[in-house]
Symmetry: C2
Subunit: 96 residues, 2 copies
DNA sequence: CTCAAATATTAACATATTATAATCTGTTAA
DNA sequence: TTAACAGATTATAATATGTTAATATTTGAG
């Protein structure tokens, strides 16, 4: 791969890293590793305000890291990409 | 590990992610994967200005991701932590 | 000693991010 | 249809980050 391609990749990958580069958002990803969850569940698990949780989720979804599905009154969020899952596992392996 | 500990970890790890969450800095880490390099070498490889390169290096060093040693006129930068190396490898494996 | 190369620092400015609080929207059940 | 819950959106102020250009520092060569 040449420099131009690497540069392009680095922008995309850096974007993912940047999105993960926030304690709240990282915690959310962490909490989603085992199973999909509703906003309220995430709120409680991560001890964050409703507004923040919602905003973090929005950003994570916009960056393509998580998916959402509606289940009546609830919104279920889950990790979208297998690579994010692998990355999170690696992080846990290295730092936990 | 309890939530409080996880929260603390997430701050530290998020900080690393955040530091890596920039195309220029990520590119630098990438370029350092195979061998330590001088500022000028990095500048040329990554096609970045001298000032930016120096600033990115400073930030990477402050975040504990890289090390520097002086070799006369030159400053050699290298990846500091084996975990960063593993993380970068994982990124390359997943996204390159 | 002095010059040029290598690197670092600073200043100025624009842009992005975050936290918080308030408000809005959608859905279910009584 | 309304109360109450789940979630999203918006506004705003504080803070952080990034870019660029200019200037400073350090060091080896001659």
């Amino acid at each position: 791969m040449n420099l131009k391609q690497i540069k392009k990749k680095s922008i995309d990958v850096a974007d993912i890293m940047k999105t993960m580069g926030h304690p709240g958002r990282l915690l959310i990803l962490c909490s989603l590793l085992d199973s999909k969850k509703t906003v309220t569940e995430i709120e409680e698990i991560c001890e964050m305000s409703q507004s923040q949780t919602s905003q973090y989720l929005k950003r994570l979804e916009a960056a393509g890291l998580i998916d959402s599905e509606k289940d009546g009154k609830f919104h279920l969020y889950s990790i979208k990409d297998q690579r994010i899952r692998e990355l999170m596992s690696k992080l846990q392996e290295l730092y936990c």
